[in-house]
């Protein structure tokens, strides 16, 4: 871990990986969505409207994974003070916010024809909305606090405190009565989907993972480079002052 925590080495290695991740993202995303939206059979109750699952489930899954990643990175940042940990968490936040918004939006579109309402304040929907606000809060800290070390510390605490919400989202459908159905994929007794629907869904989830890795690596790279540029600017200004 210490090896990769060196920003220069991280930059070199991640620049080799990202084009491949990007390529695989495109391939799996196109394949998964085409498979799910056009080839997979219709559901016996919902017809074609269930196809929103191929976007909704991967987005909702990644919205949690992304926040979990930020929480782990924040722990590393607080305890070991690795230079890359804060940057990784910061880079992931907007990506996770987009996943969360997408999950809420697609779920709402599906809710109207299936449940009969766009929105209901049940435990699953409410806790996912709280997750969106946690992402906003986390990003706001980085923008609002001038001192970067202080911003990093406050943001890390926000990420850690917010992580309490993750098991609540995941188990809300088991702990309380909700309108949202329980898990179809990760449950005892195997998936609740027919294999013809399950495989395209798994492909879409893989595609969303690859998308996440690609975009977060890109964002970390740009954060590192932005930092290097700022360092160079400061050095330049100092040299000019010394010469002038």
């Amino acid at each position: 871990m210490h090896k990769f925590a060196n920003p220069a080495r991280f930059l070199r290695i991640s620049k080799m990986i990202t084009p491949w991740c990007f390529f695989l993202t495109i391939v799996t995303m196109v394949a998964g969505l085409y498979w799910g939206l056009f080839i997979a059979p219709e559901d016996y109750q919902m017809g074609a409207s269930y196809r929103i699952i191929f976007v909704h489930v991967p987005a909702a899954h990644l919205s949690e994974i992304c926040y979990g990643f930020m929480a782990v990175a924040s722990v590393v940042a607080i305890i070991w003070k690795h230079p890359l940990a804060d940057q990784s968490a910061r880079a992931a936040a907007p990506v996770g916010a987009v996943f969360t918004a997408l999950a809420l939006f697609t779920g709402s579109l599906w809710g109207k024809p299936t449940w009969g309402t766009y929105w209901i304040w049940d435990a699953r929907l409410t806790s996912e909305l709280v997750l969106l606000f946690l992402y906003f809060g986390y990003m706001a800290v980085w923008e609002a606090v001038e001192d970067r070390t202080k911003a990093a510390r406050i943001a890390a605490i926000v990420a850690l405190v917010g992580a309490v919400n993750l098991p609540i989202i995941k188990f809300s459908v088991d702990w309380w009565n909700t309108l949202h159905q329980p898990a179809s994929l990760l449950r005892a007794g195997g998936a609740g989907l027919h294999p013809d629907m399950l495989w395209p869904l798994l492909t879409c989830i893989l595609a969303f993972y690859l998308f996440f890795v690609t975009v977060v690596l890109w964002r970390i790279q740009s954060l590192i480079i932005r930092r290097q540029i700022r360092g160079l600017q400061i050095r330049l200004a100092e040299e000019e002052r010394a010469n002038g």
Binding site: D43, T117, I168, W176, R187, H194
Partner: protein
Amino acid sequence: MTTRAGKRKKKRLYLVLTSMTVLVLAVGLVLTALQDSISLFVDPTELKERNFADGQRIRLGGLVAEESFSKDADGLTYHFDITDGAETVSVVYKGSLPDLFREGQGVVVEGSINQHGPFVATEVLAKHDENYMPKEVVDSLKKRGVFRHAEEEESI
């Protein structure tokens, strides 16, 4: 690594661990205390067990009982029973029903307690289960007589 830096690291580690434990415990206690208000609906058994005031607005959830559905002559007022396998509550509802509504389906209805007659619902929502199947598969299962709506299975 100097031992002093190592000590500081350990201190931070313990700080994170203890504060997270306290936080999780606190949130857990709050959620347990709020159990009843977080749950979206009560089932017919809870409805009978808990003493709700007459006229109190609640949500009631369960399966639409088989052969309980009927429509009034106006074509807008529906009567059906909601069951959880143990208890059954009669419901009357005037309005439009969601597409998924039918006997054996999970539903959540909102309305007010009426101790002198059926539960008067003002909103009916269909609950979808976690199972997805192609129509052809369901048809062939039905043909062989082994298909069961997942929710019916649970309630038995």
